[in-house]
Amino acid sequence: MNGARQSGSSTLWGLILLSTLVLFGATLYTVFVVAPVEMQMGIVQKIFYFHVPSAYAMYIGFGVSALGSMVYLIKRDPKWDALGVAGAEVGTLFCLIVLLTGPLWARKAWGVWWTWDPRLTTTLLAGMIFAAYLALRSMGNAGEVEKRFAAGLAIFGLVDLPLIHYSVQRWRGVHPTVITGKGGGLESEMYWALGLSFLAFTGLAVLLIWARAAIERQRDETARLRFELIHR
């Protein structure tokens, strides 16, 4: 029974892996060959196709982390804690990508590396919150208290993000709103490239979170077995 489930989930895993690889190939082709070079920004504009989907993948990661944490606090099942850790780690990774690619774009587009815009500030603070989460979890093997503490932090962190966004927005705002209700100012090939990239990054985020959660569960299991062995 367990074996059948395992082989079922590994088939699904392989399927997602394959489609993500294909999607990434298609994305790269569309981004660099099909989509036109933007007139004012030049080749730098291509960052956009990786920057925006990374930001979106970051929110997937943090959302998964908060969800896993919430269920963990209620049910106390280590499975959900593993999901929380995986989401936080993958989210922080994508956050780092966003924070690295963003300034490269900003320098060309706005002439500065950094500005206190709602989205920039929210991303930076989200990164700090979840970096604290990871720091908390990385101190030795986390006990029950640390796990619960981190879970609370992940939930609070996610709830906090809209507040950060809104308050900075009131304070100031210059970020380009490329995707608006009206459709923004993109060529249709650019839309294709962006859409494919979104899909590819979704696949990547799912794969990474899945793999990380599996590792976390195995690490937990190993620690439990070792404990049993020592105290037998």
Binding site: L73, L125, I129, E146, G157
Partner: protein, 226 residues
Amino acid sequence: MKTLRPAWLVALKDLRLELRTKEILTSTGLFAVLVVTLGSLAFYTDPVSAPNIAPGVLWISILFCGILLIGRSWSLERENDAIFGMLLAPIPRASIYIGKSLSALVLLFVVELLLVPLCLVFFQIDPNDKLLPLIALVFLGSVGFVATATLFSAVGIRTRARDLMLSVLVFPLVAPALLAAAVATRELFAGASLPEVLGWMRILAAFDLLFIGFGLWVSRYLLAEA
């Protein structure tokens, strides 16, 4: 009622303890004077730019003093494992959270009574007509901060590296409250009308309510005995 009365007793216990030892208030009060003095020394240039800088110094000082105060308040519970006495008591977990928040808030207000006037004097700001909105801002900002920091130090005292971790965890979380409070205070000092400041107060109030409500809900899970 079943939650509020035990909460009141927990707060009363903390305040009585403080009244007898005066340990938290002396250390935090001295620290407050120090932070404001150093902040003024570092940032003050002339009376014209002072109203722009003072709110930042004021709110950073409040945050630093608050985190010190709350850390002290919970480390008292850690000594001799006093926390287990409270956890064993037949009261809701939320009461412990509310009680500790309440006592920390009262102590923070006492420190602010020293901190805010000092900041105004050092930066040569005449608060005359802005006193009420300023008090309201300080109140709202402190409530949100204490509600967040108390919850996390409650769990944090039982983890390793608590004091450092507490500030690393709490400061990014309270960033929107700090921003709203500092910007509102700056606008207030620059002579903004009440409706303009009221918008910021609404954000602060939303932050407060959200985090208090969330704290009440999560404290049930976070404060359980491990």
